[in-house]
């Protein structure tokens, strides 16, 4: 203040200039603030854009199949000869009943094996041995979520198939629904286990203590109180495991044998589990080297991809419903 008055003349303008500068800086940072808000919102909106793009492009590529193949053939026939029509004057057939049934068969077998193991792991981690659980089970679970699925398939191919060959009826090489189910089970156990364990850990302590105080044993508490209370988490884990197993391609391709014939369950019974079979993902993978030269076959595969997309959507909706119902009950 004193200095400016001593300097005389330029004092008023000198005191005005910094004020204007501050305003400019404020304005600029406000503009920057709004710009960055819009930018990150746009990045988040990219998720929606991507989903739309996926739906549009899959539909676009599947559309020619609606006319040349038809939904009736795709979902109503098990006659699958995608390449017979190219070059040899034969006629192709695109009945996808076998891969569709196959997908559900391997996932069902996988879940039947995975759920008991995953639930046990969750209970041991969250309830009976929490210290061992946090030290060994959780890190192990995290590592095994990270192992590439194709590696699981490879282990299945070189280690599991020889074992299955011994168990299978003579003449079978061991590949089939059971082998694929086992590989899928090992892949999805970590997913189901970690979600269920989190659900168990979120249960209020009072619930457990109340049950024990009433004289229930630990096992009774686990079975009658804790597992029912954690059911939303268990169901969420199972649905996400289902979605993951349904969409797995290469690991299954390595161990299922890839034969597009529905095993005759009526005459074979449980031995059908050792029959080589196929799934939607394996059938899609099969066509990868003919994408450009077999337009009908490619369209049929895009139709199967749409089926997988619908399965994914349904899984997400089911998870949402389960979680919302659990929330409203609280």
């Amino acid at each position: 203040m004193i200095e400016t008055s001593a300097g005389g003349g330029p004092a008023p303008s000198a005191s005005a200039a910094p004020a204007a500068g501050v305003h400019a800086i404020r304005r600029r940072s406000r503009v920057l603030d709004q710009l960055s808000h819009r930018a990150v919102a746009a990045a988040a909106a990219a998720n929606v854009l991507l989903i739309l793009l996926v739906v549009v492009f899959l539909a676009l590529r599947a559309a020619p199949g609606l006319k040349s193949i038809g939904l009736g053939q795709l979902f109503g026939s098990a006659d699958w000869q995608p390449d017979a029509g190219i070059g040899f004057g034969g006629s192709s057939a695109f009945g996808a009943l076998a891969p569709i049934l196959g997908s559900f068969a391997v996932v069902l077998v996988g879940l039947l094996i995975a759920v008991p193991f995953a639930t046990s792991a969750a209970v041991v981690l969250a309830e009976t041995n929490p210290r061992v659980g946090e030290r060994f089970i959780r890190p192990a679970v995290e590592v095994f979520v990270g192992i590439p699925s194709v590696v699981y398939g490879y282990v299945g191919f070189i280690a599991l198939l020889p074992i299955m060959r011994h168990l299978a009826p003579p003449g079978r090489d061991g590949s089939g629904v059971l082998a694929a189910g086992i590989v899928l089970a090992i892949m999805i156990i970590p997913t189901i286990a970690s979600i269920t364990a989190d659900g168990l850990l979120a249960i209020p302590v009072a619930l457990r203590e109340g049950s024990l105080a009433l004289g229930a044993t630990r096992w009774q508490t686990i079975r009658r109180v804790l597992l029912p209370a954690a059911r939303p988490a268990l169901v969420t884990g199972i649905v996400l495991g289902f979605a993951r197993a349904m969409g797995e391609a290469l690991a299954v391709a390595l161990v299922i044998g890839d034969v597009n014939v529905i095993p005759n369950v009526r005459s074979e019974g449980l031995r059908a589990l050792f029959e080589p079979f196929t799934t939607m993902t394996v059938t899609i993978t099969d066509g990868v080297d003919k994408l450009a030269i077999n337009p009908d076959g490619t369209a049929a595969r895009y139709m199967l991809a749409l089926v997988l997309l619908v399965v994914t959507f349904i899984s997400i909706v089911v998870v949402r419903m389960v979680l919302r119902r659990a929330e409203s009950r609280r």
Binding site: N47, L58, F117, V124, I284, T285, L308, T312
Partner: protein
């Protein structure tokens, strides 16, 4: 009655523990088995430098390794900024309205999409619609589709884990929201973010189905290609493990099995390294946080 219950309790809990022991043993066996199988390749220096060779012995993963790292880096260049921005939005700006809900559902759906569906999508958009051929760029973009929701979630969690006082202190000092994020929150969340990036990179390393459709050239030989062009195609390690089964008849290729064993062991080693690295970083961050 009580005695029966006590015995039942023992048996049931023993059975639970037994199943977990079996499970852990199986997982440990799997890692050890793969490392033992691939040990001779892992310890052979030429394995990392020479190209795959169908005609005779002495195969290596040189080009595949190069290509894998190339695609990984390229895809992370897209994934990290986009995922970080999305995470910032969800953690710092998003309300609880329908718009935010829609974005969250979209992100969840994207995270659940089978990678083979993303592969077909990537082929349709990045290869066919652009009238090009499978390439590293198309593979990297497809991998971004797969990894984006993961990166978004990791970034959001990292920012949400920060103490609220950090945010309020910065705003109270007159900083704008974007200044607070850029100068205060992101530096504070850096260790968690780096951990997330490492884990995301690990996922890219093992992804195969999407690359099979968008970046592969389906040949175990013929591409000792170390070119830097993003428009070249090439197999990655994980793709090779699948191609081994379908394209190389074990009888015709004497050391195909040995080669695949080496690839599988290498994938396991890298995944373990990524995991241990990310964990170690997380621990360092926690320790530093306690110091303050």
């Amino acid at each position: 009655m009580t005695r029966r219950l006590r015995i039942q309790d023992r048996i049931a809990i023993g059975a639970l523990r037994g199943m977990v022991v079996v499970l852990l043993a199986l997982l440990v066996w799997m890692v050890v088995f793969l490392l033992v199988q691939g040990w001779s390749e892992l310890t052979r220096l030429a394995f990392y430098s020479s190209p795959p060779n169908i005609a005779g012995p002495g195969s290596g993963v040189g080009p595949q390794l190069f290509n894998t790292v190339y695609v990984l880096v390229l895809s992370m260049l897209f994934t990290v900024p986009l995922g970080l921005a999305g995470g910032i939005y969800f953690a710092e700006y998003a309300g609880t309205g329908r718009f935010t809900n829609l974005l969250r559902r979209a992100s969840e759906t994207l995270a659940t999409l089978p990678s083979i569906v993303v592969g077909l999508f990537g082929y349709a958009l990045f290869v066919q619609a652009t009238h090009s051929h499978p390439s590293r760029l198309a593979a990297a973009l497809s991998l971004t589709v797969i990894n984006l929701p993961y990166m978004v979630r990791v970034s959001e969690d990292a920012l949400r884990a920060l103490p609220e006082g950090l945010r309020e202190g910065s705003l109270a000092l007159g900083a704008t929201r974007s200044q607070t994020i850029a100068r205060v929150l992101l530096p504070a969340a850096m260790p968690a973010l780096i951990t997330g990036v490492i884990l995301a990179a690990g996922r890219v390393f093992g992804e195969a189905a999407a690359i099979l459709f968008t970046g592969s050239n389906f040949a175990l030989t013929a591409h000792s290609n170390y070119s830097l062009s993003p428009l070249d195609s090439g197999d990655t390690l994980a793709v090779d493990l699948y191609v081994f089964r379908t394209q190389a008849e074990p009888s015709a290729v004497p050391d195909a099995r040995q080669y695949a064993d080496g690839v599988a062991a290498l994938l396991i080693v890298v995944v373990l390294l990524f995991n241990v690295g990310a964990r170690a970083l997380g621990r360092v961050a926690v320790r530093r946080g306690r110091h303050k």
